[in-house]
């Protein structure tokens, strides 16, 4: 573990006064390796260890902690700080309906997460509408319709292109007095110009309160690039990390937060529709550090 590796450098003795530059640099090397092994983006690791360096050099080891414990405490605090404070929930419109767009790469979990959010909102006493705006993937509409039936939430689907479908869905929700419109969009590459424009057009038409990037927790170095592109094009308001119940270290969380500044609002922890949880920065920090 990282603690063991750092202990190998700093030793076991309590009451050691201050961390020397040499010790800090050796320790930072281990931290860098741990973060890269956890899939944190190489540039984010660089920035992180740089800011950590100034916090650690000459640092006094405080009451009763070993130097290793002191370092791990600082690193963990630093990562938690980066990942964001307490749980940030969804932002609702002052006047309903609230619009939520689910966006992201192919297979990240958007359709499943849309249904999970619908269930969560329903349990909170809201009246949600799901929108099947993926007209490309075979049986994508059927998938959302099936999930909608499972949670007892209406699914709007119909003819036309995704922009028209979302526009009509929001109109219907407004007319019927529904609270939240959750728009499931097709997975797409961040470098697919036509499809990124499609998302911009949906946003322009429906003016959603939330644009959530749905990202797979096991994403590697490209998480930073993908998130940055989606954010530049759409101005994301939040992130959902899926498949978090697996053994991926989840460094993508740090990369995505670092490049977008947007809160990770929820995590998907399973295939069942109840398996959506608020994001916990402290748990994530220790997971990333391994």
């Amino acid at each position: 573990s990282l603690s063991d590796r750092i202990q190998g450098i700093l030793g076991k003795f309590k009451g050691k006064a201050r961390l020397t530059e040499k010790e800090v640099d050796a320790t930072l090397r281990e931290i860098r390796l741990a973060l890269l092994e956890a899939d944190v983006h190489i540039q984010v690791v660089r920035q992180f260890t740089e800011s950590l360096r100034s916090r650690l050099i000459g640092r006094e080891v405080t009451g009763g902690l070993t130097p290793t414990q002191e370092v791990v405490k600082v690193v963990s605090e630093e990562i938690q700080g980066l990942l964001g404070g307490s749980h940030e929930g969804l932002k609702f419109a002052s006047r309903p309906p609230t619009g939520i767009m689910m966006v992201g790469l192919q297979g990240s979990g958007k359709t499943t997460t849309a249904a999970k959010l619908a269930l969560m909102l329903k349990k909170q006493g809201k009246w949600p509408l799901l929108v099947a705006a993926d007209v490309y993937r075979p049986a994508a509409v059927e998938q959302l319709v099936t999930l909608g039936k499972e949670v007892g939430v209406e699914v709007y689907h119909g003819e036309g292109d995704p922009v028209e479908i979302c526009g009509r869905a929001v109109e219907k929700a407004r007319k019927d007095g529904m609270d939240v419109v959750i728009m499931d969009t097709a997975g797409r590459l961040h470098v697919d110009e036509l499809l990124m424009v499609e998302l911009e057009r949906i946003k322009g038409l429906v003016q959603p309160q939330e644009i959530l990037l749905v990202a797979d927790a096991m994403t590697g170095q490209e998480a930073a690039n993908v998130a940055r592109t989606f954010h530049e094009r759409l101005n994301l308001t939040g992130v959902v990390l899926t498949k978090m119940e697996g053994d991926a270290r989840g460094g993508a969380a740090l990369s995505i937060k670092a490049v977008t500044g947007q809160p990770i609002k929820f995590v998907g922890v399973g295939e069942k529709l109840e398996q959506l949880e608020p994001f916990h920065p402290d748990r994530m920090a220790s997971r990333i550090l391994g």
Partner: protein, 277 residues
């Protein structure tokens, strides 16, 4: 790197950064950098061009044990497709069906994902588009039951190749891995030797976790080939170098898009070229 001149400290750092950014991973990058430094120390590397050639050579060396085409054996040949959620299994099966159908083979698809919403419908649409039949049961039924029925049909009606779709599952879920083992057992009882090919589908955007996936899936079932999907994106899939080194599973195919023709044979040299683009 800039193509002319002597290799500098910065060049080596740049190479390291390219490898890490391509998801090659710390350990494998370290291995490659040490091999490069050894070559440089022995005077085998001539300048910047030389170092890139040496690096390509070292990566190809690691990939050596993981080369292999997808080949069909005598009918009824059975291919099972496995992997974690969302990697592109179902779409890859559509592409395989298309390839085999184009070769004039008689193909049967098996809707072995009886769990996920509209999984059967999804494969059925692909089967119709490619023009091949599909065996299915009710959603929620036992996947092993579908495998049993399908292989009976495959033998009875003389299908050249049968391709089994399975539900996405995390490799850490013991009960789901047991379900997969059971599907394979049922297949081999029905047709000795089946499944003759088990393809593990990996998403090129996945980082170091792909190694854990490859390890645990190949412990559960005899994975005979890897498919690396979504290479039409910006991810390089560098983690397969570590997988090749550790497990020597042949990387047989790559997915380069969402259409039924977007499947290519894995080409190690092209893969290595793309790492540096």
């Amino acid at each position: 790197l800039g193509i002319k001149g002597e290799v500098t400290r910065e060049d080596l750092e740049r190479i390291e950064e390219i490898l890490i950014s391509a998801d090659v991973g710390v350990e494998t990058t370290d291995k490659l950098m040490k091999a490069l430094e050894k070559r440089m120390a022995r005077g085998e590397v001539r300048g910047k061009e030389g170092i890139m050639a040496a690096l390509r050579d070292e990566i190809l060396r690691l990939l050596q044990g993981a080369q292999g085409r997808l080949e069909l054996g005598p009918p009824p040949w059975v291919i099972m497709v496995v992997g974690v959620n969302g990697t592109g299994k179902t779409t890859t099966i559509a592409k395989l069906a298309r390839r085999f159908a184009n070769e004039g083979r008689k193909v049967l698809l098996v809707a072995g994902d009886t769990f996920r919403a509209a999984a059967i419908e999804q494969l059925e649409i692909w089967a119709d588009r490619v023009g091949v039949p599909m065996v299915k049961h009710q959603p929620g039924s036992h996947p092993s039951g579908v495998v049993y029925d399908a292989l009976q049909a495959a033998r009875a009606r003389g299908y050249d190749v049968t391709i089994i779709d399975t539900a996405g599952r995390l490799h850490t879920k013991v009960n789901l891995m047991e379900e997969l083992k059971k599907m394979a057992r049922v297949a081999s009882k029905e047709l000795p030797g089946a499944p003759h090919e088990t393809l593990l589908v990996l998403d090129a955007t996945t980082g170091q976790n792909a190694l854990s996936q490859a390890r645990l899936f190949s412990q559960a079932v005899p994975v005979t080939g890897l498919v690396l999907t979504k290479l039409d994106g910006t991810a390089k899939g560098g983690i397969i170098i570590a997988i090749a080194g550790e497990l020597s599973i042949p990387i047989k195919l790559i997915g380069v898009g969402e259409g039924m023709d977007d499947l290519q044979d894995f080409d190690a040299e092209a893969f290595v070229e793309a790492l540096f683009e």
